[in-house]
C-alpha cells in the first residue's frame, strides 16, 4: 500500500511536469522579423534533433559562413517536410532570424537555397510553411533565386 502511494505520488508529479494536453509550453525563441540575417556558406554538419515529443526529427544544419568563417546552427524544418537531400560540404544560402544562445549563433531559417533551388520554409512573418498554407505539401520550392 505504501509502495502504491509512492508510485501514485511519482505519477502525479510527472503529470504535473508534463504539459497539459493541447497546451504548448512557452517556447524559447521565435522568428523575429527584426533580426533577419542572410548568410552564405557550406554545410558542415546535418543534425536531426528530436522534437514533437520525440515523434519526428527536426532538421538542423551547421553552416560555416563563407566570408567570416563563423559557424551557425540553422533550424530548417521537420525532416519530413524538407524534400531534398542535403550533404556536408554543399553550398547554401540562408535567410533567417538570428538569435544567439550560449555563445552559439543560431538562425531560424525562412528561405534556404541549395543547388539552384529555393525552399520556402516560413512566410515573411515567420509562419511555418509545414503547418499549412501555400506550399505546405513537401518543401515548396521555386527555381533559382534569392
Amino acid at each position: 500500500m505504501k509502495r502504491l502511494a509512492i508510485v501514485m505520488a511519482l505519477l502525479l508529479a510527472a503529470a504535473a511536469l508534463l504539459p497539459a494536453k493541447g497546451r504548448q509550453r512557452p517556447q524559447e525563441h521565435f522568428y523575429s522579423v527584426d533580426s533577419e540575417r542572410r548568410i552564405e556558406g557550406t554545410i558542415k554538419d546535418l543534425l536531426f534533433e528530436p522534437r514533437y515529443q520525440d515523434r519526428a526529427p527536426f532538421l538542423v544544419l551547421v553552416v560555416e559562413e563563407k566570408d567570416t568563417g563563423a559557424l551557425y546552427r540553422v533550424e530548417v524544418s521537420p525532416a519530413w517536410f524538407f524534400g531534398r537531400d542535403l550533404h556536408k560540404g554543399e553550398s547554401v544560402k540562408i535567410l533567417g532570424s538570428y538569435y544567439a544562445k550560449d555563445g552559439v549563433d543560431n538562425l531560424i531559417a525562412r528561405q534556404l537555397q541549395a543547388g539552384g533551388e529555393t525552399f520556402r520554409l516560413r512566410d515573411s512573418r515567420g509562419f511555418p510553411t509545414w503547418r499549412g498554407g501555400p506550399g505546405a505539401r513537401k518543401g515548396w520550392r521555386r527555381g533559382p533565386g534569392m
Binding site: 517556447q27 522568428y31 523575429s32 522579423v33 533550424e75 515567420g126 509562419f127 511555418p128 503547418r131
Partner: protein, 416 residues
C-alpha cells in the same frame, strides 16, 4: 427576330437585372462584412480585456510570466500571445505555430489593433498595456484568430457565387423561354398574315372567275343556240361542219363551269368520315384514268382511321391526288396509306411515277401551276384550300426511290 432586336429585348434587360442584383448584393455584402468585422473586433477586444485582467491577476499573485501564458496556450482562438515589459522586451511568449510570433519592434506602441494575413487565416493583433499594483508595467501582445470570420466570409462568398450562378441560369432559362414564346407568337402572326393574304387572293380569283364566267357564258349560250339553229334549219351540207363547233362551245362552257365550281369559297360540312371509304370511292372514280394497265393500287392502314371532315370535299382532294399519281405512273404502284399520329391523321398518297423536279414542288400548290400538258393548275391549289379549311396541312416530297409523295395531315375525328 433580328440579332439586334434579340439583344435589345432579351439580352439587355437580362444584363440590366443582373447588374442591379449584383450591385445590390455587392453593396449589401460590403455592409454586412463591415458590420460583422466590427462586431468581431468588439468581441475580440472584450475577450482581450478579460484576458488582460486575468493575466494581471496571476502576475499580481506572483506567477511567472511564462507560466501565466502557458495557462492560455491551448485556447482555440489564441494563435500567439506574449508578455512584454515596459521596454517592449519580450518576457515570455507562446504560439500555436512553431516559432511564429509576428511581433516587430516597429509594432511597439501601437494603440489600435491591427489585422495580419497568415496561411492560417486573418489574425487580430492587439497590444494591451496594464499596470500591476506594485507599479510594474506589462504589455500583453495577443494574436487572436479570425478564422471563424474568414470561414463565414468565405461561405458568404460561396453562397453569393452560387446565388449568382443560379440567378444566371434561371434568367437564361426564363429569357430563352420568353424568346421562344415571342418567336412562336411572331411566327403565328406571320402565318395568320399570310393566310389572310391568301384568302384575299382566293376571293379575288373567285370574284374574277365568276365575273369572267358570267361575261363569257351569255355570249356562249347565244352561240350555242345559233349552232343548234344552224344544225336544225341550216343547209344539210353544213350540218356536219356545225357539230364540231357546237362541241367546242360546250367544252368552253364546261371549262368555265369547272372553274366556277372549283373556285367557290370552301365551307366544309363536317361529319365522321372513314378514310378507307373515301379512298375507295376516289379510286373507283378516277382509277380508270391511270395511264398504264400495269399500275397497281394499294390502300394501307394498320387500324380503321376516321377523320372529322366534309366527305365530298375530302373525296375531291383524294380524287385529285390519286388522279395525279395515276397520270404520273405508267407502270408501278400507287399507294394510299392512313395512320394515326397522336391527335392527327396522316394520309399519304405515294406513287412510283416520274416524280417532280425540286423547283416545281415549291410552287405546286399555287393556282394555275401545273406540270401536265393539259392541266389547268387548280386541282392541287383547291386541294390545299380544302385541307386547310379543315385545319390540316398538305405537302409534297420526293418518294423513297422515285415518284412523289403527297402527305395530308388532318385533325382526327372529334371525340365524345
Amino acid at each position: 427576330m433580328k440579332r439586334k432586336d434579340f439583344f435589345l429585348f432579351f439580352v439587355l434587360p437580362f444584363i440590366g437585372i443582373l447588374v442591379i442584383v449584383l450591385t445590390f448584393v455587392v453593396v449589401n455584402r460590403a455592409f454586412i462584412k463591415k458590420k460583422t468585422e466590427d462586431l468581431v473586433h468588439e468581441q475580440v477586444l472584450a475577450a482581450a480585456e478579460i484576458l488582460r485582467v486575468n493575466v494581471s491577476h496571476f502576475l499580481e499573485e506572483g506567477m511567472a510570466p511564462g507560466r501565466v501564458l502557458g495557462l492560455y496556450a491551448g485556447e482555440k482562438n489564441i494563435y500567439y500571445m506574449a508578455l512584454l515589459d515596459d521596454g517592449e522586451n519580450i518576457l515570455a511568449w507562446v504560439s500555436r505555430y512553431e516559432g511564429y510570433l509576428p511581433f516587430s519592434k516597429k509594432d511597439a506602441g501601437r494603440l489600435e489593433p491591427w489585422v495580419i494575413e497568415s496561411p492560417a487565416g486573418k489574425i487580430f493583433n492587439l497590444l494591451a498595456p496594464f499596470e500591476l499594483g506594485d507599479g510594474r508595467v506589462y504589455v500583453l501582445y495577443l494574436g487572436y484568430s479570425l478564422a471563424s470570420l474568414d470561414q463565414m466570409l468565405a461561405r458568404a462568398d460561396r453562397n453569393f457565387v452560387a446565388v449568382l450562378l443560379m440567378l444566371g441560369a434561371v434568367g437564361a432559362v426564363f429569357f430563352t423561354g420568353l424568346f421562344g414564346l415571342q418567336k412562336r407568337y411572331l411566327a403565328k402572326e406571320r402565318e395568320a398574315e399570310a393566310e389572310k393574304k391568301e384568302k384575299e387572293r382566293f376571293r379575288e380569283i373567285s370574284a374574277f372567275t365568276s365575273a369572267v364566267a358570267h361575261e363569257i357564258k351569255n355570249p356562249l349560250n347565244s352561240l350555242n343556240l345559233m349552232f343548234e339553229l344552224l344544225q336544225k334549219k341550216g343547209p344539210p351540207e353544213l350540218r356536219d361542219d356545225v357539230a364540231p363547233g357546237k362541241a367546242e362551245v360546250r367544252r368552253i362552257s364546261d371549262v368555265i363551269d369547272r372553274f366556277s365550281r372549283e373556285l367557290k369559297p370552301i365551307r366544309p360540312a363536317r361529319e365522321r368520315v372513314a378514310v378507307r371509304e373515301v379512298v375507295e370511292a376516289a379510286w373507283r372514280s378516277v382509277g380508270g384514268e391511270c395511264l398504264g394497265p400495269g399500275v397497281e393500287f394499294r390502300y394501307e392502314e394498320t387500324e380503321p382511321v376516321a377523320i372529322e371532315a366534309d366527305r365530298n370535299l375530302m373525296l375531291q382532294v383524294l380524287q385529285n391526288l390519286i388522279r395525279n399519281a395515276c397520270q404520273a405512273t405508267e407502270e408501278g404502284r400507287v399507294t394510299v396509306s392512313a395512320r394515326r399520329a397522336r391527335k392527327r391523321v396522316v394520309i399519304r398518297v405515294e406513287d412510283t411515277g416520274r416524280g417532280l423536279p425540286e423547283e416545281a414542288r415549291e410552287r405546286l400548290f399555287d393556282p394555275f401551276v401545273t406540270t401536265k400538258d393539259k392541266g389547268m393548275g387548280i386541282g392541287l391549289y383547291v386541294s390545299r384550300k380544302i385541307v386547310e379549311a379543315h385545319g390540316g396541312h398538305i405537302s409534297a416530297a420526293g418518294g423513297a426511290e422515285r415518284g412523289t409523295v403527297f402527305t395530308i395531315t388532318m385533325p382526327e375525328e372529334a371525340h365524345g
